[in-house]
């Protein structure tokens, strides 16, 4: 009897160690693949279609065959069984394993599915310009958003729903074609030009990404821009035998920012011109738990802020350049966008493993979108969570920048606070530490910069050269918070004004007219140190006096706040 009991116990133990007989089950992987998205790179609002957008492909990790194999290994832990055979067919995993393995795996997949299908309602409100001046805040909770919307009803709203980690693009644009220039071909005795038709895009466009941060807040990235064409393009004679050229002039604005917000909250950024201030709000439809199941040894930790990396890239206007040089108004962004997310994941994995090291450490970790799935004993998971929090804390602050700028005439006080009250224009943005913020507002003007002449044996022909000129204000920079609490802003201020655009006819030749801009600009690239809560003068530059001798000065003051 005793021998029989021992034999039964041994047999029971063997079954327990193997987790029971293997059974075949199919696990549905729909929606768990890589989360593809495109990283926005902002170009100037005045743009032609085709050039208007350059997107850098980006991809957040999802489940692939290798990570599934790792998951199955983890789910088989503690069982004395051979490696369970598996096949991935399309969006399904066929697995032959004991029931306990299926159960563990399905709990993981269900948790991943919850975060992959989580929904956020996104609204991009275009608010009246006065909304910027009515508040000093950039970030609002749900009640604050309601107050802003009630006090300043949006003139336009774009809505969509989005999934975390993806970059949603909202576009409401209008395209108009125009003859931008003439391209001249030459041959022996004939020099015909042909028109070069381009499209101008006006309207609103925004890219919004929502990331779930390690502490449960939402990290919101916003890039928005607007352009409008107040009047029909000017018709200008392109030169001898060339046709007329259409030169448009737009009013434009663009802004970039990022911030941590609460559910239902939003970010206000932009400038005090019509259609140039945006309130972007995010509302979460549901919240998923980080613990997979009661008593589970797995946790799905949000880490969108840690895994996302830094983001930058903003247009960079310049003064006009003479013939033979590139444009003073580039079509493309200066920055290159994100830092390498793959490298970042490797670093995070190494940090987590080190932190949760010791005995026992983490059994397994998996990156999925903006989340890290960690498996292991409670102590190791707590250590992993604390590491993520520590890494998140290093970049958990947002720096908002209140901007006043404009031209003051006559004498004025040097006190930045007094200047802030006197300066006519308001702009605002906000960025997480290390990200780039930017505001740009003004106009863009196309003009006939020069006329080249193509010649050959028996004829000559005019080849008009078109150019674009930015007038207005642009501030961009990447803020960091020093240990002392001061804000370091590495950036650039640019302002330009068009005094006149004179048309000059080339009298002694049959060429058409050229347009000669007379523009004033100030620019300053630097790394400034800002005391939070206090106004600081970034730039004060004298401008040529007016015809009646009045002195003029361009001034830009900013006030940083750290959240």
């Amino acid at each position: 009897m005793k021998a029989l009991l021992v034999a039964l116990l041994v047999a029971t133990g063997a079954v327990a160690q193997s987790g029971g007989s293997p059974v075949v089950r199919i696990h549905d992987l729909a929606g768990l693949g890589p989360i593809g998205c495109e990283e926005p790179r902002l170009s100037l609002p005045f743009r032609v279609a085709g050039h208007e957008w350059e997107a850098a492909p980006d991809e957040r990790p999802g489940l692939d065959e290798r990570s599934l194999s790792d998951l199955v290994d983890w789910a088989s832990r503690g069982l004395e069984i051979p490696v369970p055979p598996m096949e991935v067919l399309g969006t399904h995993l066929i697995l032959q394993a004991p029931a306990v393995v299926h159960g563990r795996l399905e709990r993981c997949l269900a948790a991943l599915r919850r975060v992959a299908t989580e929904r956020f309602d996104i609204a991009v409100h275009v608010v009246p310009a006065r909304a910027l001046g009515a508040t000093t805040r950039s970030v609002f909770d749900a009640e604050g958003v309601a107050r802003v919307v009630a006090a300043h009803p949006p003139v336009r709203t774009l809505r969509t729903s989005a999934t975390p980690g993806r970059i949603a693009r909202l576009a409401a644009l209008r395209r108009r074609s125009f003859v931008a220039t003439w391209d001249v071909e030459v041959s022996g005795v004939a020099f015909p030009p042909h028109p070069w038709v381009q499209h101008i895009s006006t309207g609103h466009e925004a890219w919004v990404a929502v990331h779930v941060a390690a502490d449960g807040r939402l990290l919101l990235d916003v890039v928005a821009r607007h352009a409008r064409l107040p009047a029909r393009p000017r018709d200008v004679d392109g030169g001898i035998q060339s046709g007329r050229v259409q030169y448009p002039a737009t009013r434009s604005a663009a802004a970039r920012g990022s911030a941590f917000i609460a559910d239902g909250g939003g970010v206000l950024l932009g400038a005090d011109r019509p259609d140039s201030a945006w309130l972007v709000t995010v509302r979460r439809r549901s919240r998923s738990s980080s613990i997979l199941a009661s008593g589970s040894d797995s946790e799905l930790l949000p880490a969108g802020d840690v895994l996302r990396g830094m983001r930058w890239g903003f247009p960079d206007p310049w003064p006009p350049l003479p013939s033979g040089f590139a444009r003073g108004l580039g079509l493309h962004s200066l920055g290159e966008g994100d830092d390498d997310p793959r490298r970042r994941r490797v670093d995070v994995a190494e940090m987590l493993r080190r932190a949760a090291g010791g005995n026992p450490g983490l059994d397994h970790l998996l990156f999925f979108g903006d989340h890290v799935l960690v498996h292991g004993p409670r102590g190791a998971r707590v250590a992993a969570r604390e590491v993520l929090w520590a890494m998140a804390r290093a970049t958990s602050r947002s720096v908002s920048l209140d901007v006043r700028h404009g031209v003051v005439e006559g004498s004025f006080a040097r006190d930045p606070l007094m200047l802030a009250k006197r300066l006519p224009h308001v702009a605002r943005s906000i960025a997480r530490e290390g990200d780039e913020l930017g505001v740009m507002v003004g106009g863009e003007l196309a003009y006939q910069k020069d006329i080249d002449v193509e010649i050959d044996m028996a004829a000559l022909y005019a080849d008009p050269i078109d150019e674009r000129l930015f007038t207005g204000f642009c501030l961009r920079g990447r803020p960091r918070v020093h240990r002392s609490g001061r804000v370091l802003l590495d950036g650039r201020v640019f302002w330009q004004e068009l005094k006149a655009l004179r048309t000059r006819t080339i009298e002694d030749s049959p060429l058409g007219p050229v347009e000669l801009p007379d523009a004033i600009h100030v620019a300053h690239d630097d790394a400034w140190t800002l005391l939070p809560g206090r106004w600081t003068t970034l730039l004060s530059a004298p401008l040529p006096s007016t015809s009646d001798g009045t002195r003029r000065t361009f001034v830009c003051v900013v006030r940083a706040r750290v959240r």
Partner: protein
């Protein structure tokens, strides 16, 4: 099976040779079988063009003028001659056939050498296979009045529902044709009109000439339908097609005018000719569903009179009886047919000179081709695991067109039957998509909570359906040919303007790939696009260039592209945005249902 006389004679000659075979085995005899069309059992892949691919960049790989002829490429579903089909027949007949029979494919016939007692069984096996593979359905394609879309109880309809819908809404037009299961039929009821839509300019040293490019518009209906045999007597139906009608008279536009250059010894003229630029109303849709025999799929929109189609398939004969004992032939097309992705036209905002057309032909080069749910070679081990094999009935499994052929002990076959049917229920569901889209006046409440109310006021309705993993979409609107730009060709003493023609689209596109998550939510990886004219296309005179006019467009578009999660049965707001320059906004809401 009828041997041809020539081959019979050959057979008679060979029979004495066969008698020289070993005395221990029955003497093999040779029979020749006609495979009855198996050699052309091919499936056509669907590709859909926009209806007016005027610009060269929008036509696709088949050429400038006849791109629309390239409906798709043929893919072999049954391959003869590589040994696979031959092994399948031997497995089906039994171990003795595997051991003693030799099947070769000579030309388009099977040459079967086997002992006499095996030949009848081989004949029955081949006949049964051929009967299964040559089954056909009667296809009906009804163009329904727009009102039928909102009145229909669903997008995937039973036979009775199809009858009721047809009774309430008499079709505007009907196309009927028989179609072989698994192959792919192309139903066309169209008119072709030739137009001089462009000039290709040739130049020589002292002269040039405009070379007219005559293209054709396909006015009417062109729909590709593939019907496959699915489990439980049902049918997997895959539909993709387009409809086009001309709007008004074709516009004529002169591309050049005579002109003299000063300073040139021999004056030259710029003169090409007159272009014909049409404007059309177009519909392009794609959908798929598992339907019952006699049932149908309703796809399209209610924005035009030719844009709503009801496609119905009815078996011409009852499903055949499988005669080969000890084996099963399971119709499982819903699991064996790879997801239908790509091959879909793109519509976008217009592009300027030097860039591709905003109205593209299909583009499936970059589309990752997903595999079918069942790949018999990869799951054989799973289905055969732990099989108690019987020496005289070894288990086997093969894929054959829309079918899985299995044999062996009843326990193994039962497992295969039950497993595949369970997979079909779980992984080959159909998602119906109801769409409402259109312009809304300022002030219309458009928060996500207002989706259901928006659905009741939005002017346009569209609908389609997709098997899990398939793309489903509807495009509806207008296409307008425009003279987008003038290039110029030059030679030493001559020049010629070279008109650049493009087409622009105004209307909507809603669609994407549909999946069902285990919780029941529908995951849609898709796109919403809306475009309309702010002002009519205007002619801009290039007076001093000597070219004549060119067209300048003024269009506003709204676009959202994302991965959306839809709660079945509920309306969800996919997009809301102001339409620049118009004073109004557009909204799009969808409702998914899982069947």
């Amino acid at each position: 099976m009828h041997p041809t006389p020539t081959l019979l004679a050959l057979l008679v000659l060979l029979l004495p040779l066969a008698s020289l075979a070993s005395a221990q085995t029955p003497e093999p005899v040779v029979e020749i079988y006609d495979p009855g069309g198996l050699s052309w059992f091919r499936q056509r892949t669907h590709r859909v063009f926009m209806t007016m691919p005027l610009a060269a960049s929008s036509v696709g790989p088949a050429g400038e003028t006849s791109g629309r002829e390239a409906w798709g490429e043929d893919v072999d579903r049954v391959v003869l001659g590589d040994g696979q089909f031959e092994r399948m027949v031997c497995d089906l007949v039994g171990p003795d056939a595997v051991r003693d029979a030799r099947i070769e494919v000579l030309g388009e016939h099977f040459w079967v050498s086997a002992p006499p007692d095996l030949q009848p069984r081989i004949g029955v096996a081949l006949e049964s296979l051929l009967a299964a593979l040559s089954a056909s359905v009667l296809l009906e394609l009804h163009t329904l009045p727009p009102a039928a879309l909102r009145a229909a109880p669903a997008k995937v309809l039973s036979g009775a529902q199809v009858d009721a819908l047809l009774e309430q809404h008499s079709p505007l037009a009907t196309v009927r044709a028989p179609a072989r299961l698994g192959r792919g039929a192309r139903l066309i009821s169209a008119r072709r009109r030739s137009l001089v839509t462009e000039f290709d300019v040739e130049v020589a040293q002292e002269m040039f000439s405009g070379d007219p490019l005559v293209k054709q518009l396909l006015l009417g209906l062109e729909v590709g339908v593939r019907v496959h045999a699915a489990s439980a007597g049902r049918l997997l139906m895959i539909v993709g097609g387009r409809h086009m009608e001309l709007l008004g008279e074709v516009r004529e536009l002169s591309t050049g005018s005579a002109r003299v250059l000063p300073g040139v010894k021999d004056p030259y003229t710029i003169k090409t000719g007159t272009l014909q630029l049409p404007r059309s109303r177009s519909t392009v849709t794609r959908g798929s569903a598992v339907v019952t025999d006699g049932g149908g799929l309703l796809v399209g929109h209610d924005g035009s009179s030719g844009g709503l189609w009801l496609v119905r398939a009815t078996r011409r004969r009852p499903q055949m009886t499988w005669k080969v004992g000890g084996s099963d032939l399971l119709a499982l097309a819903e699991l064996l047919t790879p997801p239908v992705v790509g091959g879909w036209p793109t519509v976008g905002p217009p592009n300027p000179s030097g860039f591709g057309s905003g109205v593209g032909g299909f583009d499936d080069d970059d589309t990752e081709k997903p595999e079918a749910f069942i790949d018999v070679n990869r799951i054989e081990g799973w289905l055969m695991r732990d099989a108690d094999t019987e020496p005289d009935r070894p288990p086997f499994i093969h894929a054959l067109g829309d079918y899985v052929l299995s044999g062996g002990p009843e326990a193994v076959r039962k497992r295969i039957r039950e497993s595949t049917l369970a997979w079909s229920r779980r992984f080959a569901r159909t998602v119906e998509l109801d769409v409402r889209i259109g312009a809304v006046p300022p002030g219309t409440p458009t928060s996500p909570a207002d989706a259901a109310r928006l659905a009741s006021v939005l002017p346009l309705a569209a609908g389609t359906a997709g098997r899990e993993g398939d793309d489903a979409a509807v495009i509806g609107g207008e296409e307008e040919a425009i003279l987008k730009d003038h290039d110029i060709e030059i030679a030493q003493g001559a020049t010629g303007p070279d008109p650049v023609v493009d087409s622009v689209f105004t209307g909507f596109h809603v669609g994407g790939r549909l999946d069902v998550a285990p919780g029941g939510d529908v995951v849609m990886r898709g796109r919403v696009f809306w475009q309309e004219r702010v002002h009519p296309t205007r002619q801009y005179a290039l007076e001093s260039g000597g070219f004549g006019d060119l067209d300048q467009v003024d269009l506003a578009h709204v676009q959202m592209r994302d991965l959306w999660t839809l709660k079945p049965g509920q309306w969800t707001l996919l997009a809301f945005a102001p339409v620049e320059g118009t004073g109004h906004a557009m909204a799009c809401v969808v409702r998914a249902r899982v069947r």
